[in-house]
Symmetry: C2
Subunit: 457 residues, 2 copies
């Protein structure tokens, strides 16, 4: 009844921008992952911070849960309204509010997607570098602390959100951070909100760092017989201070999927795909120096190019990895895992994972952001075989436990959501309770994305 | 009486490592700044995390405030026990616990100084880059979110602390972060502790990112008639993606102080001092490209060198800036200010500040980390003239207000401490109360560095 009352008041506030039709609820009740459908009671489409503030006040008055929604590309079910309530879809708050080329920053609404943002930035010679693969919304990327292929060079959302505006559970609208490049003025609330998965408030504005579009790029690919050699090659490159813009690892199984999908004929061994950004001279030098390191570690000759069309082909192959792998088992559904370890433990983590997968009945090619120690398996299950889903879950759980045991984290970039809650105690110990205390301090009635991230009563 | 009881129990725990002699209390009751002496009731020298935990339990049982102390180089009085209690001096927890060259990280105790750490790292080819000038302790640097000359390239403590161990006010020992290079597993407690100025707990261990000692360095100096030209030159260099390792601004008054102090004969105009790190080829190219940008903005010919002894001389001059300026007014005491603004507002902020200083009776040369938009005035006052102290305070306050008005922050790197509390409401609005809520959630009885950072009851 309380929620019904909230919905009536929200309808008065939003009119047709409060939706209750089943297809709309269903579209906001499933994710790009394996969680059961969980339609909310309603979907709200606010258009301004002030409207979000009013929405929050109505929901708070009636104990109605609120769950933010970006582009719906989360892999861990962050946006599922597991305790009912209203999904707040930010797709109509998708404006680029102010671009400041001199300061290399931009203020945006949370619903803008990273591709739309970069399209708007094009004329400035600047770009927003964080690239999780999917065309996610900036708000969603901030809330999951997203990263991706370019993080080794440009950092993750942690490093690229300078400040934000959020509506708290009690309706207060706060601003965090500033437009200064650094500050020592108090707790880093920006960092606290980035990665909070909507549990502390609804973010309605973000200020982001931008970077200059590099003058030149070189990129290429090389192969190794052994994973250790590929990892050692990357370690040495980092230690030498050669600034890689991307450094991606794909295992033999992924290479075979590429070959089948794109008609290429790469040897079925681990590969590294790498990109350098800089001046025409520096990217040539970086590529040459990298080629020497590759040779020192027994890799194949590093074939690189400064031509943009070849880079596009290379990264299209990488970005299509998910689809290539999916196509390698017709009719399969993918369970995508995500762990991150210290780079010295990366080869061990990959090999133990491969061993586990080989001993199971399901295929699981591996690919990842090797410069960060972050990798994924794409576990291919037959959706009609419940045993395969259980097996995938077992493999995924073993990976998370392995990552924690090796000094890493149960999620490098996908977030906690529904899928990683079970590992939070193991990873954080009593610090998980500290997260719970912070949540309670800011949202004592647990209205902001309840049931997620913190220990549950 | 409660504190007396705590001190008795602490004496039983620590023996001669609990000190109550007046000289020792006085040494921990003044800072490198203008705040009145505030000796604590005792100084404790714990040697292990477990001892800190016991200390905290004793203090908590008797409502005795606890204030962390590193190298005592804070400029804002962070370590002053304004409500009495125990100063916890970490100078005996100064070990480098584990260096992991393959992962380019290190775990240290909080009392190690940055110079001692880099000395221990030397053989590894790695270094810890954050350089606030003073030979501060790593724990103190983390607690104030320190940065400095190299932040434009290597980031601040925010970017270089991967995780930490802290003893909370209730005696729980928590670990934050992991040794993975990134994580999306929950609230970023590491970032919350970095910059918390000891108000959330006592940090007993830190894991830091390391960087490869650059193969080659180029560095040099150039001058400009107008501040705007110097700033525009830096902006363009950043936009071009030329990676500066340091880029320091000194104004005409600072240049004159250098000349008088070191016998140099630089023209009395604004100067930029810049350094590039990389390969021998890349640092030469970077310097050449920078020289072109300098010329485009009307600067003097950029004189650079790849010779280490010349770099040492350059940065010795910069690092001695404080002493050079101090020597320019014999007998004077220095009040060092610290603000940070978006770089597009930097020239305006410097010029308005210069105008204010010129209209006052006290000198105040300006220097700063121009790549971050961060600068300092060193206001020289006669300690026997109370009116000059008031005037310095007025100028400093005007700077903080100016920074906030221009979209920046009242402190770029020195922290809040005693000196910037008055500006927290103006800078953060309701977000300051959120900081207070977090503090209360973790330290409900306000025992950890009470009277600092958050709104006071």
């Amino acid at each position: 009844m309380a929620i019904a009352q909230a919905l009536e008041e929200l309808h008065n506030l939003l009119g047709e921008r409060l939706r209750r039709a089943k297809p709309e609820l269903d579209a906001h009740g499933h994710s790009e992952s394996y969680f059961p459908n969980t339609p909310p009671d309603a979907v709200a489409y606010p258009v301004s911070t002030d409207e979000v503030r009013r929405l929050v006040n109505i929901c708070a008055a009636h104990n109605c849960p609120m769950v933010g929604w970006g582009a719906g590309t989360s892999l861990e079910g962050h946006g599922l309204a597991v305790r009912g309530g209203v999904v707040v879809d930010f797709s109509r708050m998708n404006k680029v509010l102010e671009i400041r080329p001199a300061d290399m920053d931009v203020t945006v609404q949370p619903g803008v997607t990273r591709e739309a943002l970069n399209e708007e930035l094009r004329a400035t010679g600047l770009f927003f570098p964080v690239d999780p693969g999917a065309n996610a919304s900036i708000g969603g990327m901030a809330m999951t602390r997203a990263s991706g292929t370019t993080t080794v060079r440009y950092g993750s959302m942690r490093d690229n959100v300078m400040g934000l505006q959020a509506v708290l559970a009690d309706g207060r609208v706060i601003h965090t951070g500033s437009r200064a490049r650094k500050s020592a003025a108090g707790y880093d609330l920006t960092a606290m909100f980035v990665g909070s998965e909507g549990t502390l408030g609804l973010v309605t504005e973000l200020t982001l760092k931008l970077h200059g579009i590099p003058e030149a790029t070189s990129a290429g690919i090389c192969s190794f017989e052994r994973i250790e050699d590929a990892v050692n090659c990357v370690q040495e490159t980092i230690q030498m201070g050669i600034p890689m813009a991307r450094i991606e690892f794909v295992d033999a199984a992924t290479t075979q999927a590429f070959n089948a999908y794109a008609g290429s004929d790469m040897p079925a061994v681990p590969h590294l795909m790498v990109e350098f950004n800089g001046s025409p001279e520096s990217v040539a030098q970086d590529a040459d120096r990298f080629a020497e390191i590759v040779a020192d570690h027994g890799g194949s000759p590093f074939q690189w190019s400064a031509r943009e069309e070849e880079h596009r082909a290379l990264w299209a192959m990488r970005h299509n990895g998910y689809y290539a792998i999916l196509a390698s088992r017709p009719g399969a559904r993918a369970i995508v895992t995500d762990i991150c370890v210290p780079i010295s433990r990366l080869a061990q983590a990959v090999k133990e994972t491969q061993y586990d997968i080989a001993a199971s009945d399901i295929p699981g090619p591996i690919l990842g952001h090797v410069g960060d120690g972050n990798f994924h398996t794409i576990l291919l299950i037959d959706p009609d075989q419940p045993a395969e889903m259980l097996e995938a879950k077992r493999l995924s759980d073993a990976m998370a436990e392995r990552a924690i045991r090796l000094g890493g984290t149960c999620t490098g970039e996908h977030g906690v959501g529904m899928g990683k809650t079970a590992f939070m105690r193991q990873e954080h110990g009593d610090a998980w309770d500290v997260m719970g205390s912070i949540k309670t301090a800011l949202d004592p009635r647990d209205l902001m994305n309840p049931g997620k991230l913190v220990p549950q009563g």
